[in-house]
Symmetry: C2
Subunit: 422 residues, 2 copies
């Protein structure tokens, strides 16, 4: 079968959607429940109507566009109503980080829409319903993977009340501002077995596919994620009057730890990463030896034991550095998110489909978090990556070639079709 996406239409959709929240730098700021998010939701409703898809939004803002198995297959006389009738889900998210790119989330969402349109317009016989899912607040303006978490388990009213945005604004107020009933946000979980399978197309957001000259990434799992803060404390002194050898400068210990991060990550695995993205030096005066230096750490590994070993290695190295420079150091773990393995059968399906389409594949873990890690607890889940030029993401420099967009769309369409005819 040579069912393929219409790349001209998918490209036009991506370009249109990138205008909602467009920034001067050429990127996109479309944070959850913002004016731009509202615009893209209206646009999506219009596109669904035009394509003949029924639309539904749940209490936390997840949007579902449905292709009914019976209806679609039925019109052409195909086999109708497979097995338990559980739908195949495919999709991603349409919110973005502040000053992000045009593809993170939008590619998987709009390619899923294109997949649904192709199934409808080609009257492809399927046994199961197909639903395009656009998850709310994946980027965590209020909560990391907010919408897909609400599919796995219901939020309590208390938890919802406590969720706040960057500016301290409450999620429940944002939901009410969308015209929705915040109480409905406590009733979003789906029952076990309600989903037959889930597949998400996404840009890699890293440089590995490009470096390995692969066209399709077959995602093996989502890496485990740890976060924590190291605080080095020394002694505030006058920068002019305190000899170098009599100082207890917390920046010395912090700098030594930072220089060791690559070696510490490599000590647990080649896939491990450790990043310090936030540094705060106090009191922060040019002529004062600092009192404290805080490092916010992000560390990841596909294996939970190795993730914890990495955390331990970082803390041990920090303590060594503190000892060498007569400092105190404390560590506060913010969170550990366990790694998630994706379904082996789904990996095989993605890989064999891409290979059949003549594309070079690479099995790889995802270093970034995705809604797929929540969905993996509900149903067999797969992810398809396409290359990011120079690995850039969460930036206006985010870019994937149109050839790779088309390849990703075609793999997604074929995988969804295969799942829907099971």
């Amino acid at each position: 079968m040579s069912l393929t996406v219409r790349i001209d239409r998918l490209r036009r959709d991506l370009e249109q959607v990138s205008r909602f929240g467009a920034t001067a730098a050429g990127g996109v700021s479309r944070t959850s429940f913002s004016a731009a998010d509202r615009q893209v939701r209206e646009w999506l409703a219009g596109a669904a109507a035009q394509a003949g898809l029924t639309i539904r939004t749940d209490g936390i803002g997840n949007v579902f566009l449905r292709v009914d198995g019976g209806e679609v297959g039925g019109r052409d006389g195909g086999e109708v109503g497979g097995g338990d009738g559980a739908p195949v889900w495919t999709g991603s998210h349409l919110d973005s980080v502040p000053d992000g790119g045009a593809l993170d989330g939008a590619l998987g969402s709009l390619a899923a829409l294109e997949v649904a349109r192709r199934l409808v317009e080609e009257r492809v016989p399927v046994r199961r319903p197909v639903e395009v899912v656009v998850f709310a607040d994946e980027e965590g303006s209020y909560h990391h993977l907010c919408g897909s978490t609400g599919l796995v388990r219901n939020y309590s009213a208390d938890e919802l009340s406590g969720l706040r945005g960057r500016d301290g604004d409450r999620l429940v107020d944002a939901l009410a501002g969308m015209g929705w009933d915040p109480a409905a946000a406590t009733r979003t979980a789906v029952r076990p077995g309600a989903v037959h399978a889930f597949v998400e197309l996404h840009i890699e957001q890293g440089p590995i596919l490009e470096a390995r000259n692969a066209q399709i990434g077959v995602v093996t799992g989502i890496v485990g994620l740890g976060g924590g803060e190291l605080v080095f404390t020394g002694r505030q002194d006058h920068a002019g009057t305190t000899p170098m050898r009599l100082r207890q400068d917390p920046l010395r210990g912090a700098a030594e730890l930072v220089t060791r991060l690559p070696e510490l990550a490599a000590s647990v695995s080649q896939a491990a990463v450790a990043t310090c993205g936030i540094v705060s030096v106090q009191p922060g005066a040019g002529n004062v030896v600092p009192e404290t230096c805080r490092l916010q750490l992000d560390f990841r590994d596909p294996d939970r034991d190795r993730l914890l070993a990495l955390e331990q290695a970082i803390v041990a190295a920090a303590e060594q550095a503190a000892g060498r420079h007569q400092l105190r150091v404390s560590y506060h773990r913010d969170s550990i998110t366990d790694p998630v393995a994706l379904d082996p059968r789904m990996q095989d399906l993605v890989e064999s489909t891409a290979t059949r389409l003549g594309l070079r594949t690479l099995r790889m873990p995802s270093g970034a978090g995705h809604d797929a890690q929540n969905l993996a607890t509900l149903a067999p889940t797969g992810m398809i990556f396409v290359p990011s030029v120079a690995g850039r993401s969460h930036s206006p420099a985010e870019l994937t070639t149109w050839d790779d967009v088309e390849n990703g769309g075609n793999v997604l369409l074929a995988v969804v079709h295969a799942l829907a005819t099971e």
Copy 2:
């Protein structure tokens, strides 16, 4: 002669003055031309009147309390009106850094007041006038060593208009707010030869006297001071998806440079220091490999050539670090302030006076800037240091024992007396 300060009175003065701008942490915030500065100026006028000293404030806010040579000596029939009649100056400053200590500046100012009072009340015969000088804005709320700079050279009206405080407020508005004519701030320079000699008592603000078990520091000069900013630039990337070996993380280069600062300082001299007190990492998100890391540097050495060699060594090391981590680095020099040697005869006078009083002395450079470095261009200038407990300063933890305060006051009194009878 056993002329000594009255330590009970000096202590009471220090304690009283420490209440103007007292902070909850036990320190002092008495920045220039603030309400607390106004209070201490009123207090000083009252103390001058009580002691029979004439008071005068110049256009930039420097205060002078005068003991007339003829008058003092004259009342007792001593030798009157020495040589050219140029006065001996002694003093320091009464402004503080935000959240500073009670002694930085206040000790030298109030000890000078006590010296003047002792000369007057003991009717000590002197040949020259003695003037207590309290310099305005030494701590540079508007300009580093602001008041003493105005004694060395006149500010232009344009330069004055451009001087602004931490909050962007203008110096000329602050002067007008004190009830002064800002135009008078352009006419403050004193003529060459107008001052016979200057001597300033100050806390060391460092740990050297304590470490060397000395009671009086004989200051040989003020170290040269350099300031500049290093900006390491790499590539912003996703912290989860970018393998460690494919990163261009500017923090790696910056951290490597910071760890090398002690070795770079030691490469030019044992007295050299290099400090990074301000670090800024952008964009500053926990899950983003940073794009830039800025380091604000402060580096000092008693010798100008070595100071410049230190700057060069730091920049070269930064470039090496940048090269190793595939970064770009740029350096912007903010300023170089030349070192100042203090008058050898004044050093000998301070040393011999302290030794005669049975005190252990140590010759040492000052790592901090002082008004004395400006005065040294006007007249033979000396500085007397007393120990700082644990070397703490610019902090509420700033402390000097009352014994050391008394020792410093007595050395100052004897030195001023010797100079005034030359």
